[in-house]
Subunit: 206 residues, 3 copies
């Protein structure tokens, strides 16, 4: 059950990464699948490297690799049609975000991190893959420019880590964190919410 | 005392990273704080990952996280005024560079590295955060284009590692390394010094 | 013998990285050498971090550092003349690619990885340094845009890992993998082959 959810998140992120790749010109099937795997597995790898849990779980377990590669291939073949389904894919992406924020925070607690560190690890897991993707295709990472991507992940991670530290069982805490993250993300998308921006942008570097 | 100096460096780098973020358009408070934390803590994290000292110290100790986030928030709120203080901030940045070069090299020695490796680790600590920052906002990293950023860090790291290996006590060696790094950096800024550049730039790729 | 081959690969990749640096304007000697070292040693470092084999071998052994720095210096001094030798350098680069794919896959097997993971580790070793190089100088990584760079590395890694798992001795397996990778890479360059590209590039993001 847990594994199935986790793999769903991986698949969603792989689709997302591959669809981004298809927007970049001069990219071939290897590039599409590579970008899909980076997006889907990158956040978990960075989390595991920071925790010292190497080799990363997503790398050792072949099912993660297979599902991520499958997501990339599906997007490569059906790219044009998937583009039409932007709303379901957005929801799938929000589900992946929620799941990764929660599992990342829980893994942080398992390794003896405090609540703050576990929350950050959750956000790193959720946002890291997309950040690697954006760096590779030379876009400013979404985490820097659209606040309601990182904020739901931080909220979800904080909820689950705080509740578990406060004595709640893991399952309801994880559910609460994931639902909060998913809801805030979808509300943010629906109403185009943003975190506060600076009152004035500074003058660019000379 | 040592911790206070280290946290001062973190604060300086966080300010620096956040001020860079403010120059990038379409960036919100989450992006500013994220970039501040990357800049302030990234170098130390890369150093600790290379040493196998995970989870990284700057991640486990909440004071590092708090000071880095605080630096980002201060820059977000007072960005316009801080822009005027470019000279003191430059000096603070050089102080952070010196401190990180020295502590990075010392940590390398602690983990049994040779002088050359410790020197490089010092430079990685000092320059790594800024390099991550530049990659995230899509600038060519300063370490590639302005030589007198990496050179002082290498000099400071080499001095402290060489002196400690040569038998000097840690405190005077650290002081010598930090002063040398700080001085060379400030002299370089004052007189706009550069490392040698290629005699002719090659023709760009087709 | 093995070490000599490995260092040849490091030297080839360092030349390659430094020649890329020379194409970027406003880059000094520190930048050239830094980019050479990233290109030559980055893939192996990422591999070792993923395997938990830290500190990375290429970092601890001073010969790797020295050969990589030497490659960067040679390119800095003789850049203009090397530019004429693009064909031998391309062959040297393909040799480095083959060697790293094979040694990376073998190291993965040594650490108990399966054939798929070992193959990916080989490709990461072979392609990782060049990807870091491209990110630092703000180009779309070659691994995303030119498929016959990653494909030969995957083929070489798969051959050596599969043959060794199947019971063949290491030396002939490594030879088979390296020759296959080198041949496919050179054939790809000669005939300008590409992996399949998407039938239609999607419309860019709004």
């Amino acid at each position: 059950m847990f594994l199935a959810l986790d793999l769903t998140g991986v698949f969603a992120f792989a689709l997302n990464g591959a669809l981004t790749a298809l927007r970049v010109t001069r990219i071939d099937i290897v590039g599409v699948v590579t970008l899909a795997m980076f997006t889907a597995l990158g956040g978990g790898m960075v989390r595991d490297i920071l925790l010292g849990a190497v080799p990363p779980a997503t790398f050792v377990d072949w099912r993660y690799l297979a599902v991520a590669a499958l997501g990339g291939l599906v997007a490569f073949v059906f790219g044009r049609h998937l583009q039409q389904l932007s709303r379901p894919i957005l929801a799938l992406d929000a589900a992946g975000l929620s799941l990764f924020a929660v599992t990342g925070a829980l893994k942080g607690l398992d390794f003896g991190m405090g609540v703050v560190q576990a929350t950050i690890l959750g956000a790193v897991t959720a946002v890291g893959g997309g950040t690697l993707r954006d760096v590779l295709v030379r876009e400013v990472p979404a985490v820097l420019s659209s606040g309601l991507y990182a904020v739901p992940a931080l909220l979800g991670g904080l909820l689950v880590a705080g509740l578990v530290e406060g004595g709640l069982a893991v399952l309801p805490a994880a559910l609460a964190g994931a639902v909060a993250c998913f809801t805030l993300r979808m509300v943010g998308v629906r109403f185009d919410l943003h975190a506060p921006v600076p009152r004035s942008v500074l003058r660019p570097r000379p």
